[in-house]
């Protein structure tokens, strides 16, 4: 059973870890060194509150590590990168959606019905086009959401802000949901054995969408592993 003192120390160490923006190996190193230091102070008879007062606020300790270990220097470049890619992804999603909506086929899963009188090969072609654009829209949207979430994380001095943490989580969940939907739509023609090979553009768009989705999922996975 953990005592109140042990709980305070555990929370303190966890708060430092959360505020660290360093690779997990370095985090482990820091954890061992700070653990040794806390242990020594405990052996000297200091209480948890005294140890915390002596060592300083978690975010201050973490910030020094972040500065020294070079992550903060990268933050400006990272922020610009996240913003730029996010905006581009959003624009790509909007343009693709607008293009499809203009042709009245965006959410029309029964695209074949729209051109009722068309012959067989044309129907397949249209169906292929619909299934190829939707994954692209979803993939771009997922990437934009990921970038927005990463951008929030890269902002300095806002770690203890609950609103930010909540916003990050909502964006992560939305990105995961949109990614999953995009992946399903991208895979659907293959799973249901539609004749997508007839349309090279559809295959290319599916490939691009899959690549973007993989990036989005990678970013999400990295975020969760970091936590």
């Amino acid at each position: 059973m953990m005592t109140e003192e042990q709980k305070k120390i555990k929370k303190y160490v966890t708060d430092i870890e959360r505020a660290l923006h360093v690779p997990s190996m370095t985090k482990e190193r820091i954890n061992h060194d700070l653990g040794t230091e806390i242990q020594l102070l405990k052996e000297q008879g200091l209480t948890a509150d005294e140890i915390i007062a002596r060592m300083g606020k978690p975010e201050e300790i973490a910030e020094r590590f972040n500065e020294e270990l070079g992550k903060s220097g990268m933050q400006r470049g990272q922020k610009v990168f996240y913003l730029l890619v996010g905006i581009l992804a959003l624009l790509a999603a909007l343009l693709a959606a607008c293009f499809e909506q203009r042709h009245g086929r965006l959410f029309d899963s029964a695209g074949v019905m729209v051109i009722g009188g068309a012959d067989g090969p044309t129907s397949i072609f249209i169906a292929g086009r619909i299934s190829s654009i939707m994954p692209f829209v979803f993939a771009s949207l997922a990437l934009a959401l990921c970038m927005a979430s990463q951008f929030l994380r890269s902002l300095k001095g806002r770690r203890d802000d609950r609103e930010f943490l909540l916003a990050e989580r909502i964006l992560d969940i939305l990105a995961a949901a949109v990614s999953a939907a995009g992946l399903w739509l991208g895979m659907k023609p293959f799973v249901t054995e539609q004749n997508v090979s007839a349309d090279t553009a559809a295959l290319l768009a599916n490939g691009a969408a899959a690549a973007v989705l993989i990036v989005a999922l990678f970013l999400l996975a990295r975020t969760f592993v970091k936590k």
């Binding site: 370095t26 060194d33 230091e37 020094r64 500065e67």
Partner: protein, 118 residues
Amino acid sequence: MEQKFAQQLKKGVLDMIVLRLICEEDTYGYRLLQKLEQRGGGFFNLKEGTLYPVLYRLEDAGLIQSAWQAAEGKRAAPKKYYSATEEGRQAYRKYHRVWREFSACVENICAEKEGESR
């Protein structure tokens, strides 16, 4: 202004100073912080976030190594100790030689300038 200048100097010699202290005896991070405070004349009152990255840098360069050592007493937990490697001891001797040459050079330049300005 003075503080900024002192900070820059400190940054330049910190690796050598920390390496020196570890060459003296195997030690852990917190003890190093205490030693630097006691012997640093106010210049080396460091925080954890400054000292540990120096230790990691030295360790990654193979100049020091870390190991867990059991502490005395049944209830005492093991602690992470740092010790200098042979490569680290050699590196320290080189660093110190460069430092002596460097500081002598700076002293010479400053003495010349002071003589001229009089």
